[in-house]
Amino acid sequence: MSRIVAAMSGGVDSSVAAALLARETDAHEEVIGVWMRTHGDMPEGLELSRSCCSPEAADDARRVAQLLELPFFILNVEREFGARVIDAFVDGYLEGATPNPCQACNQYIKFDELLRRGLAAYGADAVATGHYARLEHRDGRWRLMRAADAAKDQTYFLWVLDQAQLARTRFPLGELTKPEVRAIAARLNLPTAQKPESQEICFVPLGDYRALLDERRGYAGEPGPIVDGEGIRVGTHTGYAHYTVGQRHGLGVALGEAVYVREVVPRTNTVVIGRRDEVAERSFRVDGARFTAGQPEAERFTASVRIRHRAPDVPAEVTMVGADRFVVETAEPVWAPAPGQAAVLYAGDECIGGGRIAPAAS
């Protein structure tokens, strides 16, 4: 008997993924529904009704598993999630970067902790999630492909997966559009059919991460200068870690035109701003590179690059600098590459890998 873990967040996507998986499996396969407890309960009143991982979401996941007649367990990953995702998120801000917690969760929790512990605890040799992405097996390798629904494609968060992880992964929703998924949920009468999209970061109540910096690392923020491209002070900020590259709102600077955060400098507690055209770049460095189907053979190659979820891809030249670093030169300027965010590489519809945008060389 082989078993597959259906990672169930309590949202409509993973509910339908579990349902499709349960329908596809035969007598030799068993689907186990698992909801991961990633963090403690939020204080009363701050509970995130729209978040995927609240205890309320566990109730929804359990109800769906009951309807699908799946064994259902709660896997406690609070400590691992705390260290690998929440602390990494906080530390990212303290380093002046824009962290990417969903990607860290995929890399370390869903496709690592869950795979390992799922195998040991449930005897499962694969994990299925409700991500919109596809897998193909070509030329002896697993290929991570964009979802059929381009608007929902989530490969931007999945580029961190390697061959060993992809070989044990299923994406039952890869060929479907969101409306199709909702229709299936409605047809199966799943209680999650009408649930709204989760958009917030699951462990940040009301999207305000500042309190978290204080709570986890004692960073209350110290006021410092906001400067323009010439280094002239144009305002005061509440603490560098409260700002991210590309941010427009909350700067309290009136220069007669829209300005954006161009750079965050922890060492001097400085926030540098610029006009819209000043925050666009044609070249940036990337480190922590990983490749889904193996290291590219050429040292220099062309690819499309995406630097934030839902941003358009841009054609680029990629030059490897050692095994896990590369430089991206884009054909046209890309807007506000933020250190810490992922630069994800595509060859056509295949997501070939990516890395984290490095701070601008100073």
């Binding site: 566990a58 896997l75 609070e78 260290a83 605890a121």
Partner: protein, 381 residues
Amino acid sequence: MAIYLDHAATTPLRAEVLEAMLPYLTEHHGNPSSIHASGRRARQGLDEARETIAARIGAKPREIVFTSGGTEADNLAVKGVAWAASGRGRHIVTSSVEHKAVMNACAILERQGFEVTYLPVDRQGRVDPTDVADAIRTTTVLVSVMAANNEVGTIQPVAEIGAICRERKVAFHTDAVQAAAFGAPAPDAWQATLVSLSAHKLGGPKGIGALYIRQGTALLAQQHGGAQERQRRAGTEDVAAAVGFARSMELAGAEPGRTATLRDRLIAGLTGLTGVTLTGHPSDRLPNSASVVVEGIEGGDLVAAMDLEGIEGSTGSACTTGSVEPSHVLLAMGIDEELAHGSLRLTLGGESTDVDIDRTIAVASSAIERLRAARVMVETA
């Protein structure tokens, strides 16, 4: 067919109990407070059930108040006595290993102005009676110490504690929900003022329990309405459940020696594995309870792994949504927090067999090995 080793959580309903209940779920539908024949018939069932339970524990029928279960009985005992005696004093003594029903009832009372002393326990989970004596003040109105622990099975020296309370003229409550499955609670021998009971730990139905309240004890009802249960617990009684409860009390306590032999084999098998340690007292423990902590694993993972191989156990702690909080009982016993995460509780029943024990040990052994191999501890930042 799964091997069910979670009898401390609940037990299967016994066939004899169901049989006794059925007439009260069908033809005897009356409200026991009604005047007419249907009501009288229901009342007879309720009265007989109360007499049976009272006789079983050496009490008078009027000293038995039916509740919705052990939790309500604990709440009624702790809050009911505390408030009734609040004019005399507002201090309560309890242990640090009580069931959540007592713990959280005390916590609420603390927020309402009472003071609570939580007595420590030794490594085996036992309260020292001299600590009870030392903790009692002139303002103490209640001592509450359980008869046997639900997580680790340790039996408390309730008779000694009861004697101290008697001498100091302080009401003594004991939660005997787990203990009642193995020998009837003895309020007189324990010199207990109040004793909590529950049916579903004894092969009875869920949703019914009782509080023994020694005659003459001042108690403030916690649920108000009609005059049922001598005005100590309003609401129409669940007659069928009460009848089933009584029948389960009559049948309880059979073969504790046989169960204890199986338990000892199970404990020996589990603690023979590397990094597995018994929790609770080695001999003064419930005859059906084998509880351990396992190094290097998460108890919930082990319980899930064993479940998928047909063995139903528990981590031993209330774990509604996989809460990461380790058991307050294990922590109170001085068990390291990291180790307390690896708790496993297996509680046997009358139907457990030697074959079940062998299989359980084999399954636990391989599951523990698998889980340990898979666990890569996260560096603590």
